[in-house]
């Protein structure tokens, strides 16, 4: 388990528990009691810590290396997942994965960012930072789903679109714009969920959905706290302050009407119980799809457009 800075007291307690478990020669009864006592303490600590995470701490949780990623959600929630590759123009961008599958009995198109889980896969997926090809593939798949009347689920988890010379040369901005446009044009249900980091344009490219969900400790923002700090505070040190100011937590975004629902995470974050987080997300997506069932394509499209036309009319107040 990778511990975050603010989890130090928890790490210490869990270390003690581990030590006790490895003591085999002393009185087993006493050990069991002590372990139970310490575990209760861990739980209490976790509850206290995670109930009042600061925006900067949430940012760290959202980026936690053990946090479940796109592939974990898809392999647990989607049967017969059949990835579809390529933008039909330049490349297959593995920072975004998309494909057909069956979610709770129904055909769906699933599209999302994949960050990778070890050095090799992180490089292969470019750390979840997509190039124009990734967004052009997303657009192609959104339109395919539209053509066949298949609902779309998008899972967002990216630090942002890839900042690079070649990406610009090939039209990163245009590609993101077309992907947003496709999200808003399709006549099938589109459910988007921010499962980790919702980094700027690279995130909304997949997230202009009928229903936008966010996991409790994920973040969604126009710029990373570090980026914002270096521009407005002229110091990367101020990332913590920037995180506060940006209102990037699920709770704040819900108040602002940017997202529709917050999905509770297991105690101590999704990385402490991936299975529970994945099931919670699956249930929330299923409920969101049910809410939209029976709506005609034109209505789904019109509602989605109206919803985004309203953005910004509500402040925190």
């Amino acid at each position: 388990m990778n511990f975050l800075d603010f989890e130090k007291p928890i790490a210490e307690l869990e270390g003690k528990i581990e030590e006790l478990r490895h003591l085999s020669d002393s009185d087993e009864m006493n050990i069991a009691e002590e372990v139970a006592r310490l575990q209760a303490k861990v739980e209490k600590q976790l509850r206290a810590t995670y109930a009042k995470l600061t925006p900067w701490q949430k940012t760290q949780v959202a980026r936690h290396p053990d946090r479940p990623h796109f592939s974990n959600y898809v392999s647990a929630l989607v049967q017969d997942f059949t990835p579809l590759a390529g933008d039909r123009t330049f490349a297959e961008d593995r920072a975004i994965i998309g494909g057909l599958g069956r979610f709770r009995g129904h055909s769906v198109m699933v599209i999302g960012h994949e960050k990778g889980h070890d050095t090799e896969s992180r490089v292969r997926h470019n750390f979840g930072m997509a190039k124009p090809e990734g967004y052009r593939k997303a657009k192609r798949l959104l339109e395919m789903a539209d053509r066949f009347g298949i609902p779309v689920i998008t899972l967002v988890d990216t630090a942002g679109a890839y900042p690079g010379v070649e990406a610009e040369a090939r039209g990163q901005a245009e590609a993101i714009a077309r992907s947003i446009e496709a999200c808003l044009n399709i006549r099938v249900p589109l459910i988007s969920a921010i499962i980790g980091e919702g980094g700027s344009g690279g995130a909304i490219a997949l997230a202009a959905g009928n229903t936008v969900l966010m996991l409790e400790h994920s973040v969604y923002s126009v710029i990373s706290p570090e980026g914002c700090a270096s521009i407005l505070w002229r110091s990367g040190e101020a990332a913590k302050d920037a995180a506060e100011a940006l209102r990037l937590t699920a709770q704040d975004l819900h108040k602002l009407g940017v997202i529709d629902d917050v999905i509770p995470e297991p105690l101590g974050g999704a990385h402490r119980n991936a299975q529970q987080a994945i099931t919670a997300l699956g249930d929330a997506v299923e409920a969101a799809l049910k809410d939209l069932s029976g709506l005609e394509g034109g209505v789904l499209r019109a509602r989605r457009r109206e919803k985004f036309l309203e953005m910004g009319k509500r402040g925190l107040a």
């Binding site: 579809l84 590759a85 330049f90 490349a91 297959e92 961008d93 009995g105 053509r147 298949i150 034109g298």
Partner: protein, 306 residues
């Protein structure tokens, strides 16, 4: 052994040998050089069991492999003008056609068939590479048009399987026009809301690659297939550079965003069935009665409920 058996006899045999290869013959894999027993090769769908190299599969074997129980019905294709340009190179086109027809027992380079795949009624148009390199002239265009019309009529997905060097030069500009004609045909299938799947096999090049063969909703390629527009030799002599390893192969196209997946031959049928089931929101094969889906309207808004 003497010079006669070593060099002359094989050539003579080549001239007189019937097309059917005796069962006890061995085949040398062009990729790894292993000698493979002919019957083993056929049993393995003409994929080398040593290196996985996919050799060309005769079109009828391919249809047998894809349809349920290997059963399908062919449709007769409308007659098209023969030799419209009265073309002649070193040989008359008419004579070349007669030779190809005699060699293959087919009228032209395409077969259109329909039948069940995973219980679902599908239409397949498959190229016959043995017929003048699968080149596309008016008759082949006619095959694609007929297949598309049949798909629309039957509310069935259309699968096209190119294996073609490109346009048929002997039909000149009229073969070029088949690129536009076949595009109209497959667009009609798409407009009806029916899946259009292209299975790219070795080779898919020239005018065939640059028309209907690149327009599938789903693009699947067989491993190692050569797929591209201009021939590698033409490119090499134009740019005067050596081409990169794997250039214009299926895997290269996957990396370059042109195909959805590269699927080994043994998995093709299952993959096609799964993709069609998902696009049409059918329950997985086995859970459904093998009745044709009789949708009155294309899958669209009626279908959005989860």
């Amino acid at each position: 052994m003497n010079w006669l058996t070593n060099s002359v006899l094989p050539k003579i045999q080549k001239l007189v040998r019937p097309r059917e290869v005796p069962e006890n013959l061995w085949h040398k894999c062009s990729n790894c050089g292993h000698m493979i027993f002919h019957r083993d090769l056929d049993a393995n769908l003409r994929v080398c069991q040593h290196c996985g190299h996919h050799m060309r599969l005769p079109v009828k074997k391919r249809l047998e492999m894809l349809f349920d129980g290997g059963e399908y019905q062919r449709i007769e294709l409308p007659k098209t003008p023969a030799d419209p340009l009265r073309f002649r190179d070193q040989k008359r086109y008419g004579d070349r056609m007669k030779d190809a027809q005699a060699k293959t027992g087919e009228q032209d380079a395409i077969i259109v068939a329909h039948g069940r795949m995973g219980g679902l009624n599908v239409v397949i148009a498959a190229f016959n590479f043995e017929f003048m390199g699968g080149s596309m002239g008016i008759a082949v265009g006619e095959g694609i048009v007929a297949a598309a019309e049949l798909a629309v009529l039957q509310d069935a997905p259309l699968i096209v399987i190119p294996a073609s060097g490109g346009a048929r030069m002997q039909e000149g500009i009229l073969s070029l026009m088949q690129m536009a004609r076949t595009t109209v045909a497959v667009e009609k299938v798409k407009e009806k809301g029916l899946p259009y799947v292209v299975l790219l096999t070795d080779p898919t090049t020239g005018g065939v690659s640059a028309s209907f063969a690149m327009l599938g909703d789903i693009q699947i390629a067989e491993p190692g297939s050569v797929i591209g527009f201009a021939g590698a030799r033409v490119i090499e002599s134009t740019i005067r550079e050596k081409l990169p390893e794997g250039f214009q192969r299926a895997e290269y196209l996957l990396d370059h965003g042109m195909v959805d997946m590269v699927v080994p031959r043994k998995d093709l049928r299952a993959t096609l069935v799964r993709v069609l089931d998902l696009l049409l929101n059918r329950k997985p094969a086995g859970e459904v009665l093998p009745l044709p889906e009789k949708a009155d309207s294309p899958a669209r808004d009626e279908n959005v409920q989860p």
